[in-house]
């Protein structure tokens, strides 16, 4: 099964071949490296930008303004903050021009902690991103969704922010991407660049097929009856683990992978909460004005009389950064035992 990095690479290849992607660019995106996570190795339209996030974002907007399709990368979301006004402008251009100008561009950026990345390789951006009207915001939790969301992002006529949980870059999926060879070694031999001299290497791409994960559509990854847990990205996998563990105790947890942060799949969340009466929202961005708070607010407003317990949000601590030492990182972002504990406390609440 493909890693998420390989899945993104294959999606970008599909984009180049079938969806008219003409530029894939950013810092170290082109040869010889092909991205610091290798997500852009072997592609045809990649090029290296100067070390300039604002330049990358501005160029992407200009390319998109002409109608050409591009995928730009900000190497880590920790370095996207100096583009915030450009993100605002990209999001409001269609609106400000009364529908005249479209910006069909994808910006991809690795997010989150989990790799001992210290202060500036551990930021999250989902809460910030949810405050960018005009953008669509997605974050996959597995390789197949990464492939399907990237194809949808490329096809979308709006700017799409594609956030990749960096801790999942090398995690293999559990489902084959359509066209992907079944053998991992075969895929590696086809599309992973060799160590050392790569000057004569070319990727041999499998015959990939179109597979779309519609933006705005979540997915139930664990069905359950007693509580709903809504998450995305790497914490979705931890929530799945906790649900599996609790199931052995007879606790039935329903887990929803939101996949899209904006627009988000409220109907899926609503239906699940109406069934369980209890809900926990989990993500690792900082907790004050967290996106999960918006969802908890909405759950409270719309489903108040159907709730059996107060909706809760488990998110990153409201700290200036993620400290490097494991004890610091673990104390900063939600851990497995905290998710379990939060679920138990919500289940224990008596209305």
């Amino acid at each position: 099964m493909a890693t998420m990095s390989q899945a993104v690479r294959m999606a970008l290849h599909y984009g180049e071949k079938h969806l008219e992607v003409k530029d894939i660019f950013g810092q170290d995106v082109g040869a010889p490296l092909g991205g610091v996570f290798t997500a852009t190795q072997g592609l045809k339209t990649t090029w290296n930008s100067p070390l300039d996030e604002r330049g990358i974002m501005g160029m992407a907007m200009g390319i998109a303004m002409t109608g050409d399709r591009c995928v730009a990368e900000i190497q880590f979301c920790d370095y996207i903050f100096n583009t915030i006004d450009l993100l605002k402008i990209a999001g409001n251009t269609h609106w400000c021009t009364n529908g005249q100008v479209q910006l069909p561009m994808v910006v991809m950026t690795p997010v989150g902690a989990g790799i001992r990345g210290s202060v500036y390789h551990s930021h999250s951006f989902d809460a910030w991103a949810s405050r960018l009207p005009g953008w669509k915001i997605v974050m996959p939790s597995n390789s197949l969704d990464a492939y399907g969301l990237m194809l949808s992002a490329i096809k979308d006529p709006n700017p799409v922010l594609f956030m990749i949980p960096k801790a999942l870059m090398r995690v293999r999926g559990e489902e084959l991407i359509p066209g992907e060879p079944a053998e991992e070694k075969e895929l590696k031999a086809m599309i992973d660049a060799p160590i050392g001299d790569r000057s004569k290497w070319k990727a041999r791409w499998p015959e990939l097929q179109e597979y779309l994960v519609p933006i705005g559509q979540g997915r139930i990854t664990r069905e359950g009856e007693q509580i709903t847990v809504v998450s995305y990205g790497r914490h979705l996998l931890i929530c799945n683990e906790v649900a599996d563990q609790l199931r052995e105790e007879g606790v039935s947890v329903e887990v929803i992978d939101l996949r899209s942060i904006y627009p988000y799949d409220w109907q899926l969340i609503k239906k699940s909460i109406q069934k369980t009466g209890r809900v926990l929202f989990v993500n690792e961005d900082t907790e004050v004005t967290n996106f999960g708070e918006h969802l908890a607010y909405r759950a409270t407003q719309e489903l108040f009389y159907e709730l059996m317990a107060r909706p809760q949000v488990l998110a990153g601590k409201n700290l200036p950064g993620i400290g490097l030492h494991a004890s610091l990182e673990d104390a900063s972002v939600p851990q497995k035992h905290e998710i379990e504990s939060a679920i138990r406390s919500i289940l224990a609440e008596v209305p």
Partner: protein, 362 residues
Amino acid sequence: MARSQASSRVSKKKSIPASAMKSSGKNAKVDKFGGLSKELVLQMHDLMVKSRVLEERLIKIYKVGESYFWIGAPGEEAWGVPLGLHVRKGQGLAYDWLHLHYRGTPTLIAMGLEMKDSIRLMMNRATDPSTGGRNFSNHYCFPKWNVAPVTSPIEVQYTIACGTAHAQKRFGKKAVSIVTGGDAGTAEGDFASSLILASRKGQELPMLITVQNNKWGISTSYEGQHGETHIADRAKAFNIKSLVINGNDPVESYLAVQEQMDYIRKTGKPAFIEAHVSRLFGHSSASGANLNTQEVDPVMSFQERVLSAGFISKDKVQSIWDKYEEEGVRATEQARTEPVPTAESVWDHTYVNNENADWRKF
């Protein structure tokens, strides 16, 4: 005087600016207008007057309370009009792209902007073709001419222009991305970004990068913001062909833009112009939008030259002012009758095809 007539716009002075004169013979000095044809000289004068009358109309609309804010271009006509005349106008990658700042009226007037469309923008009408009543004056957007949306955040247009230039280069029809902005804005990193992106060896971009240097950043003087002698010196450091010009002289502007555009179309490489211009009504209505008589008025200065050359009579000059004053008044009256945006339209165009953006309806 009829309401649509302009006040007298023909100076009684006979003097001609010394800078406008070219030596011709021992005793006489004849203004040759840089070799430009009489028709072109008169066309530029006409368009400069039109742009000025329009901007003054916008200021009046603000001052009588029919708009919330004015920002615009009086003082940049001698730069903006010649620039607009050099644009390969059209939609798509075979044509030039324009990334203007909020002093782009003269350029667009030269390209064919109708007064009423600027006034609709000023008066926030639903009929405003640029923004549908959503944005400030001079925040133009005309996809039919590759005019990118003007933004209030300064300088962001410089890197966006790199993107359109990149696509134009790939398309291969020798089209140019033109970007304009003020001198104060060059302090933003985006200005440096554009110089870097445009000049990378082997990846040069077909861009005309320009700065209109009016020596002010709202209330902060040039000297308070700059250590460099010329802003153009920064472009030179990136091996970009650069000129510093008197942007208050439309002839000098015309020839400079022509030289640089020819170079860009021929080589595919960027070129740079720093044009020194006036700022005749201050930064915006926030500073009162009152006439500053201490700065060179490029329209009146050029008009004196045209009159002195005998290219046009005083009566004809006055009739041009009157014609555009009449057009401005009629356009204002028309805009007053036109609909304003509805409250219901506030969600429109958040996403393409009006896909729902309201989370309450997810």
